[in-house]
Amino acid sequence: MVRARGLVVLTLAVFVAAACGGSTGGGSAKGTIKIGVDLPESGAAASSGLPTLHGVEFAVKTINDAGGLEGFKFEVSNFDDAVNGAYNEQKGVQNVQQMIGDSKVLGMIGPFNSAVAKAEIPVAAAAHFVMISPSNTNPCLTKDLPTCSYHPQDLRGGNPNNYFRVVTTDDFQGPAMADYAYKNLNIKTIAVLSDSTVFGKGIADAFQVRFQTLGGTFKRLDYPGETQNDFKSFLTSFKNFGAQGLYVGGTDDKKACVARSQMKSIGFDVPYLGGDGIETAQCIDDAGSNNLNINATSAGADATQVAGAKTILDAYKKAFSGPHDLGGYTIQAYDAATALMQAIGRAAKDNGGNLPSREQVRVAMAATKGFVGAIGTYNFDANGDNDLKIVSVYTTESVDDPATSTGVCATKAPKICFVWKQQFNFATS
């Protein structure tokens, strides 16, 4: 009897302690609002996901340090959607369901991968739960293109749009590299490879259509992803085709850059091109001794190209000073998180200073006009796309001081980094 009563007291004490010790930023006037994050954070995908997470954390820290918004402070509720080192759609859906089940989470940043977004949007849309991705580039998530196998409105299931992104789409990313290859690198005959994933095939298709329109010829093959070990056989057939370059639509966790490491020994020494899936430290490491002249696009502007971005970038590097804390989508994540928090702030204001509902946050997010972020000014359209159509091209080079690089640097060969080369703005072309 006594023991049971002691247990009840202990349990109550634990609950009280948990309720008090919850938020990271200490007590605040009106409480803490949680922002969910769903990114691939373990294994091969960690080199993409973790730097992106840090971008969100930095945005939350910046706003909390400035006193929060409307009396509320913010906290990150972090989820990993990687299973066995690669992004996993089912895990992402579980994470979103968990976030929706937590009434303090008013919106989320993520996911990183378009395939995961395709699975998550229906679940989030039904709950009117805002998703803003720092990096999804598959156009079919928001645009109803003839090349898509599904309609974006079907994903939302009749619910109002809850999905937004701060980057542009593969229907510009692929063509940007096609322009760079044809005009800047003078490649007229090219090999195109894809890792057979939703992202890989989409961007490879977009690339080759544009390349052909420009007047080039291509040979296309798809490989079955991470189970492929020996790339040399079909690389040889590309070489004998006379390819002057190789474009890979794929991600590093599907061994897109292992193919690069096998190119030198077969005498196929041509530039390697790809999308943002290969703009990672893992890629430079996987490429082994053949890690130079890897060209990758990133959906978004480089920090060196936008006024004021450098200040934010330097502040970020001070707060997150590890050698691999800066990733290809860190600053995009910073912008996405800031946009979400600002929308929550506006919704709270419209709600008389009280905690807004998820639908109110969604309405505020959709109404975002002229939001000034670190690397761009954002307006969202009815589908959740923004009107920035900027793609940046980076090339791996040996640099003197990786700490000052605005591009991603390698882990094992630390003086090799992705260096910004050129920007393509499809809004004006």
Binding site: G43, N84, S261, Q262, S265
Partner: protein, 354 residues
């Protein structure tokens, strides 16, 4: 290792080919494979004339891949021959070999970019020996704790245990080194020779020569040594062997040890050749090696070697001339066709039914 006849004799290449010829005569399975083989050969000959340089280059790649698969296939075939178990964990033992080699090579202080010299050779030789012994002991331990207790259980039990053990080994490697692809140092020299536009590298020759040495050593051991004779006897008839005074437990343990020695060496060689390994490598590579063992004739050592080479070559040609996306379909399609039409495999050796 298993014999259709009761005589225990040396197997020469001539014998193997004669066996293959006999096996192809007559039945539906043989007819089907003869037909497929002929069609395949015609297609390859046409392609060879179109671009001989590419044709022979792909052949080189196919042979080296095949040699690596052969090293793994031998372990599958030996274990099946002696206790009729498909050891699904064998592919993961192979991967473990490459994982164990990484810290050992690092301990010698060798790294890629170093000029190939005496230091690297010594490091490689010692690491190979250590890896082979360690992986051998690991496999013996696995046999002792997971398979021996089930030796008299219905055959499904050790099979499921093997699948479980495969996941255990993969899980341990995941916990040890994480899920990412690991870069294996590129220590072998990059030099090569160009013969009529076909490039043969030192690495390619290295893999082939190493595989030949290991397979030859294994064949000599099986055919000439006392333990080898014990293995063949145990494979043929376990009870009779026991009656003859052969220590069954020791013989089976030795089989697992030797199979793992080959797999461990294969794993380290894979790492040196491809320069990247990953905890899940053994799952897929093991399935392909198993297909190779079945193709050659499960339980037959020459069959495993032949099967490995054939699968390697077929996969390489499929990648180059058709599409890498179809290659898994081709390889596992072969597995299904073999099991349906010719379960004894190309060299047609059967394990005696007990």
């Amino acid at each position: 290792m298993s014999e259709g006849t009761t005589a225990v004799r040396d197997r020469t290449v001539g014998d193997a080919l004669r066996q293959a010829q006999q096996a192809f005569a007559g039945d539906v399975g043989g007819a089907l494979f003869s037909a497929l083989g002929v069609v395949g050969l015609i297609i390859l000959v046409v392609l060879a004339f179109q671009n001989p340089g590419q044709f022979f280059q792909i052949l080189i790649y196919g042979l080296t891949d095949g040699a690596l698969y052969a090293l793994v296939a031998l372990g599958y075939t030996m274990v099946y021959g002696i206790i009729e178990l498909i050891n699904f964990a064998h592919g993961d033992i192979f991967t473990l070999g490459s994982f164990v080699a990484l810290p050992l090579l690092a301990a010698f202080g060798v790294d890629e970019g170093q000029a190939f010299g005496v230091q690297i050779v010594i490091a490689l030789v010692i690491t190979y020996l250590l890896v082979m012994i360690i992986i051998g002991m690991v496999n013996v331990t696995i046999e002792r704790i997971a398979y021996r207790p089930l030796r008299n259980a219905p055959r499904l039990a050790p099979l499921i245990t093997a699948i479980g053990m495969s996941f255990v080994v993969e899980g341990l490697m995941y916990i040890w080194r994480g899920p990412s692809t690991l870069h294996f140092p590129d220590l072998l020299p990059e030099t090569g020779w160009i013969v009529n536009t076909v490039r043969i590298g030192v690495k390619d020759i290295y893999v082939l020569v190493l595989a030949i040495i290991l397979v030859t050593a294994l064949t000599l051991f099986i055919n000439r040594s006392k333990l080898g004779k014990a293995m063949r006897a145990t494979a043929q008839d376990r009870d009779a062997a026991q009656l003859m005074g052969i220590d069954i437990n020791r013989t089976i343990a030795a089989t697992f040890f030797i199979g793992a020695v080959l797999a461990g060496a294969g794993g380290m060689t894979w790492g040196l050749y491809f320069n990247n390994v990953n905890f899940a490598l053994g799952f897929n590579a093991g399935l392909i090696a198993f297909t190779a063992a079945v193709l050659g004739g499960i339980g037959n050592i020459q069959g495993a070697a032949l099967g490995g080479l054939l699968i390697g070559i077929i996969a390489a040609y499929s990648d180059a001339y058709w599409s890498p996306l179809w290659t898994p379909v081709v390889v596992f399609g072969i597995l299904i066709l073999i099991l349906v039409f010719r379960p004894t495999g190309l060299l047609g050796m059967r394990v005696p039914e007990k």
